[in-house]
Subunit: 199 residues, 2 copies
DNA sequence: GGTGGATACTGCCCTGTGCAGCATCATGCT
DNA sequence: AGCATGATGCTGCACAGGGCAGTATCCACC
């Protein structure tokens, strides 16, 4: 097994550092807490702990619920050291995959109606995600949630995501206003690119 | 070959809709123009046009530069129709992979010094990317660049990326100020999570 | 008892990444 | 002319990751 851990490995190690988890729980918790900044398919979250065990950074314990087996993973001391060491390394640059922007960028291959629909969809999806974030923010006032002692870190993350999500919705709405002046996707009429950068 | 095209397929089709390209040129142009919102490894950009040809959406023409072969790809009429059809579909949600945020989120596995270094690195990297974007924005005033007739679409995209990138740097600097009050990564002292959401 | 959702997990096929490697061309310098 | 370097051109390979579908057992409820 390749000894160099990925960000995913370290993210899973991070979750294990909080407590031990069954694989199912771990996958669910990863999707609850990491989804906004490190989205990973459930399929992979079943594989990752096995790799940590193989690297000596976690242990696995087979249990039975009736006739149904389940695996519970726990971090090792070596795992904690590895996590701490990783935290001292410089972060990789963020990457964004914005399908909607691909559609905007090549909008001249389609119609102004299509472009408006794309921008509208981006704005609406952003609203939904913002509402979800607001729900998470209200949870910071509670102590009957998992890991209340980590709320300070949660708050930093949520602050970022709130601002980040707002950019999508606000930009899409702004763009909808701009394209009102356009004659078509290939003819912006009197609209000037520099208008995008004026106050 | 699977008939359902990916966003990457359509992005490449979008580039082909502008002009024909050798594979090398296409890979370079993709990395110049799509890198901010649809980053793809060069390795894949060599495969993708082949798949478009197999689907009848592009043609390939073998040429020779001396003894060195090269392939030039062009879009077909079917390809243009496929692109236009795709532009009418709703966009997939954006996904962000923010390695730095994974490190912030699990900062309690490390030290306050490490957290500060992570935040500092995020801020600096953001500055560099912002400077790059500013360079692209000044290009919008020029006509001696590729595809000046598409500046209006470029401007929409650049407006988004400017706002998007600013969020990283501003947030990281804000977070650096917040953690000044913290005693350690596990003890925020008197700092309250709700401080993250006050004006 | 039957149903539906939760818990628990994996095989499979496909997309995508980083890396390394190979080859030829073109340009500039000595 | 010869050489070095960067550009142009491309691919094999091993690994990371995603979506989907499938299998099985448990648990709560009607």
């Amino acid at each position: 097994m390749n000894d160099s851990l990925t960000t995913t490995s370290n993210a899973v190690l991070g979750l294990l550092s909080l407590r031990s988890w069954s694989t199912y729980e771990l996958a669910k918790q990863a999707q609850r807490s990491l989804e906004w900044f490190w989205p990973r398919a459930e399929r992979k979250l079943y594989d990752e702990p096995k790799r940590l065990v193989a690297a000596g950074l976690a242990t696995s314990d087979k249990e039975m619920t009736g006739a149904r087996p389940r695996t519970v993973y726990a971090i090792t001391r070596r795992g904690r050291h590895a996590l701490r060491r990783w935290l001292g390394e410089p972060p990789a640059p963020p990457t964004l995959e914005f399908d909607g922007m691909v559609r905007v960028f090549f909008a001249d291959g389609g119609t102004l109606e299509q472009l408006r629909a794309t921008l509208g969809a981006i704005a609406e999806a952003s609203d939904i995600r913002l509402a979800e974030l607001e729900g998470k923010i209200t949870e910071l006032e509670r102590v009957d949630v998992p890991f209340p002692e980590r709320h300070h870190l949660n708050a930093l993350a949520l602050r970022f995501h709130l601002d980040h999500e707002r950019v999508f919705g606000e930009w899409a709405r702004w763009a909808l206003v701009q394209v009102e002046e356009w004659r078509s996707t290939t003819d912006p009429g009197r609209w000037q690119p520099r208008q995008a950068f004026e106050p």
